[in-house]
Amino acid sequence: MRKPEQRDLFPGALEMMILRTLRKQPLHGYALAKHIKHVSNDLLQIEEGSLYPALQRLLKAELVKAEWGISSTNRRVRIYKLTASGAKHLQREISRFEQMFEGITRVLAAIKS
């Protein structure tokens, strides 16, 4: 049985990046993919397509919503927006992530010294 989550760096990382990006501005899928690639300096070698299952999960959980609209380049696109509960969820996830990251940093520091 396939587990789509395992295609990310760690479970929930991709979702977190999407939410983080959408907090700044609503975007459509292609723009979202480009943006994430760009800000991560192409460090995260994710397939563009893997964005879509993640977006569907977020849609289903009602953390984002989508509407068909016209992009700046004049194409019909589906624009994703963060919902109120999505914003709250992101806040929680970030603080959880920071805690975890802090823990990992400490352990790594301990090994180095």
């Binding site: 049985m1 396939r2 587990k3 789509p4 459509h28 899928g29 292609y30 993919a33 397939e47 563009e48 397509g49 893997s50 879509y52 299952p53 977006l55 569907q56 999960r57 849609l59 289903k60 009602e62 989508a66 068909w68 380049t73 194409r75 019909r76 696109v77 589906r78």
Partner: protein
């Protein structure tokens, strides 16, 4: 989003998704072209960057999918495939379940028809039978007199209607053989009260209720037989009781009930002036309809009050009488309930045993498949998924078993109907219908749960690393499995013990009934009945003369050894009682009035039946009507009243109609006849000569023959019809057949319980065998080591058998305990054997142990033949 909305919006979501992915690719292609890439390369590059489009679209869609239901289809397909891969397992499981469920379905069809199905009348729960009881007579349900009915009608608030009716058979002539057809005289309210409308014509109205009105309503079957189902039968006539009746209505085909509606012809009930006023005539049946929302206990309380008031007001007629309202369904059911519940219980046990066996098979299969499960777990299946898979498989086999069971019930229901005694009410209504279908489905699902649940729990509990390693089958593995497996055997054996003990008790009881000395020789006897309706036999002398002539002519028929007749058929359920007095004071207490059974018989009665005369003489032609009365009493009477059988010559008066007793001499003492209830004490009985009777509505005649008694029936009928061509001859039956019918309930009980007991026994033994085989195969290595270390083969054999014996004995002890608690519910149905009969209990226990040990012997021998080298290399 709710799951419902999801279900409906899913199609849109999917199309949005594919459109979006398409747009994404297009945008990228456009961009790449804008960057200067050739068009053809751009498309490929866009796809490469995007990833596997199909897979991603599928993953995205899966987010929305209703997984449990959709995976269910996959589970079913997988389950079917896996069952097909092990046809042996599947066949055994399906057959075992089919036997267990099928037995239940078949018995349920009987329970449904007899106990559960509503009567075919609207608001049938409000219908009741109103009867009476008397402290004078030992009967459950006697009739009510018309003046009493009128009083209840006035005083009671519980009933919306009370309709008296009288069961009455009529002689139908003018169409071949004269026939006596059952029927009832009913009032105009009868059918409206039951709530049934005629198929043709009408039911009675008040103008039919006049003397001289000869209107008649036919049953569906009589209409079909007599008028060929002619739709224009209304207005046609038929000869009944020597008069011409006009058909006014035809009723629809009722599902038969042992009730007035079971009759074939209904005439108007026109009470005579005497019947309307005679309060002591407690002999009318009453159909009662309770008012809506009225409880029957409420009605009964009211009836009790009315009865005590009437007893005070009319002590001559009503003292000691009380009324009894019985729900119509219960009234019709009689005492058929308990034997059926015992049967149902026993098939339930059969199903439980079958489930235990199947459970065991599932356990073995689960064990055999543990690598498959481990691999599935390793590649990501959750325990829930495995459980679901196993549940689906048990439901699948149970459903297959259910389908087979349904067909088994279809094929066996006729056999069961033949085994059941024909006088069980509504037995003709037994059929395999949708109710039975639903029951079968329910039983199958229950069986799936019972047999599959625990094995599934155990099999899905996976220790991946242990299972994947090849050598997992050594000693000590699957401890939970083995414990459960042995528990199941214990339970099976216990259930089988209960079943077999129940069956053995029933069979023993039946065997003892058959062994009871009836007090006469039942072989080569045939009996038939002639009635003497008033319209043809106005005086009793005519009847007496008729009987004597028929007997005299019949004695000349070759093959007839003896012939006689009497008023009360000794093997029937009708009895006549009479008051009597003795001339000299006797040992029995002078409680007034003294009652005894009374019969009037022709000479040769005792010789024909083969009843021994213990003292004195038989009646003979010298005992005439005008002479003083003579009596023959049975042994029970002589001992009870006089304390000895030396009573010839003592004087007795029976039937004190007049104030002064008419004394007559006892001329003989006859042996007791045990007829209907083999367990009951013989009842005191007085016989008088038929010629001295004051009343004879009909007689039964009995013939002892040299050849097969049925062979002479036609000759006797010819003699009867030579005297009166319109005389119906009814109830033509050999005495042996009659006795068989009287034993119908215990016979069917012992046959059916025997079948189910045998089935349960066989299944339990198969279970013991299966588990011991399994244990041996599990212990092959252990046995090999033991042998390699010098254990001899006998020891190995003993080890296996002792193991099996332990399990069996545990089951036997539990089973005997449960039986002690349960068989007392059978006590009322047992004759001549105690419900806790130690011989039965011990015998069955020993039998089961012996057979179980024998079943262990085969795997034990296999164990004995284990070659240590092979066993040790085997893993």
């Amino acid at each position: 989003m709710s799951w419902l909305a999801q279900l409906f919006s899913r199609r849109r979501i999917y199309s949005d998704l594919s459109a979006e992915i398409r747009e994404h690719l297009d945008e990228r292609v456009e961009e790449l072209i804008a960057e200067g890439m050739p068009k053809k390369d751009a498309a490929a590059a866009a796809r490469r960057e995007f990833g596997n489009v199909t897979l991603i679209a599928e993953d995205s869609r899966e987010v929305w999918r209703w997984r449990s239901i959709e995976n269910f289809g996959i589970d079913v397909r997988y389950g079917l495939r896996s069952l097909r891969r092990s046809p042996g397992f599947t066949t055994v499981v399906v057959l075992t379940l089919a036997l267990g469920i099928g037995a239940n379905s078949a018995i349920f069809s009987v329970i449904d028809a007899v106990l559960l199905r509503l009567l075919p009348f609207p608001n049938a729960s409000q219908l009741a039978d109103l009867g009476a009881r008397s402290t004078l007579f030992d009967f459950e349900q006697l009739g009510v007199s018309l003046p009493d009915i009128a009083d209840i009608r006035v005083s009671s608030t519980s009933f919306s209607n009370l309709t008296p009716y009288q069961l009455s058979s009529k002689e139908m002539t003018g169409n071949g053989k004269p026939e006596r057809i059952e029927g009832a005289d009913i009032s105009e309210d009868f059918f409206p009260d039951l709530g049934i409308k005629p198929l043709l014509g009408r039911t009675f109205v008040s103008s039919d209720m006049q003397p001289g009105s000869h209107a008649v309503i036919l049953s569906h079957s009589l209409w079909r037989d007599r008028f060929g189902g002619d739709p224009k039968a209304i207005g046609k006539t038929l000869r009944l009781d020597g008069e011409t009746y006009t058909v006014i209505g035809v009723m629809p085909g009722f599902s038969s009930t042992d009730f007035a509606t079971d009759g074939k012809v209904w005439a108007a009930f026109i009470p005579t002036q005497e019947q309307l006023t005679a309060r002591q005539n407690h002999y009318f049946n009453v159909l009662a309809r309770l008012k809506p929302h009225t409880d029957i206990t409420q009605a009964q309380q009211e009836l009790d009050t009315i009865a005590s008031r009437l007893a005070n007001a009319y002590p001559d007629a009503d003292k000691g009488w009380s009324f009894r309202a019985t729900p119509l369904r219960k009234y019709l059911l009689g005492d058929a309930q308990k034997p059926l519940l015992v049967l149902f219980c026993s098939v339930g046990f059969v199903l439980l045993i079958a489930c235990a066996n199947v459970s065991n098979l599932f356990l073995s299969r689960g064990w055999a498949r543990r690598r498959e499960f481990a691999i599935r777990t390793a590649i990501g299946a959750t325990r829930g998924a495995l459980l679901r898979q196993l549940a689906v498989e048990s439901v699948l086999v149970a459903l297959m078993g259910g389908v087979c069971a349904f067909f088994m019930a279809l094929w066996t229901v006729r056999g069961i109907r033949a085994i059941l005694p024909p006088d069980i009410p509504r037995i003709q209504d037994i059929r395999i219908d949708s109710e039975v279908g639903w029951f079968t489905l329910g039983a199958a699902l229950l069986a799936a749960l019972l047999s599959g649940f625990v094995p599934a729990l155990l099999s899905s509990r996976q220790d991946v690393s242990a299972a994947i390693k090849e050598g997992g089958a050594g000693a000590g593995s699957g401890r939970g499995h083995n414990f459960l497996r042995q528990m199941l055997v214990v339970v099976e054996v216990a259930l089988a013990i209960v079943l077999v003990i129940g069956a053995t008790l029933a069979m023993q009881s039946f065997a003892r009934i058959l062994r009871v000395d009836p007090g006469f020789r039942p072989d080569h006897l045939i009996t038939m009945r002639i009635d003497f309706p008033e319209f043809r036999f106005a005086k009793v002398d005519q009847s007496v003369h008729f009987v004597q002539q028929v007997l005299e002519n019949s004695r000349a028929i070759p093959g007839v050894e003896a012939a006689s007749a009497g008023i009360v058929f000794p093997l029937g359920d009708a009895v006549a009682e009479s008051t009597f007095d003795t001339e000299e004071p006797t040992s029995d207490t002078k409680s007034e009035p003294r009652m005894a059974r009374m019969n009037r018989v022709e000479p040769d009665f005792f010789r024909t039946f083969g009843i021994p005369l213990l003292a004195g003489r038989d009646f003979n032609t010298g005992d005439r009507k005008e002479k003083s009365p003579v009596f023959i009493v049975n042994e029970a009477f002589a001992r009870k009243v006089f304390g000895s059988v030396n009573v010839v010559g003592k004087r007795l008066s029976a039937l004190r109609e007049k104030k002064e007793p008419v004394w007559g001499e006892i001329v003989g003492v006859a042996g007791n006849v045990r007829a209907l209830d083999p367990g009951a004490e013989a009842k005191p009985e007085i016989y008088g000569p038929f010629v001295q009777t004051h009343q004879a509505d009909g007689v039964f005649m009995v013939f002892r023959t040299k050849p097969d008694p049925l062979a002479i029936v036609a000759a006797i009928e010819d003699r009867i019809w030579a005297l009166d061509k319109d005389r119906p001859v009814t109830s033509v039956k050999t005495i042996e057949k009659q006795m068989e019918e009287n034993n119908g309930v215990p016979r069917s009980q012992s046959v059916l319980l025997g079948i189910f007991g045998g089935l349960g026994f066989a299944l339990a033994i198969v279970g013991v065998y299966g588990v011991m085989s399994y244990v041996v195969s599990q212990q092959t290595r252990e046995i090999g080591i033991r042998m390699a270390l010098g254990a001899d083969r006998q020891k190995v054999l003993r080890m296996v058998i002792v193991h099996g014996l332990k399990l069996t004995l545990t089951g036997v002890v539990i089973g005997v305990g449960v039986s002690l608690a349960l068989t007392r519910f059978m006590r009322s149905q047992l004759f001549g054997v105690s419900a806790n009969d130690p011989v039965t209990f011990g015998g069955v226990a020993i039998l089961l142990v012996v057979v179980a040990v024998a079943a262990c012997f085969i795997p034990a021998q296999r164990a004995m033949r284990v070659d240590p080298m092979v066993a040790l290399r085997y893993e």
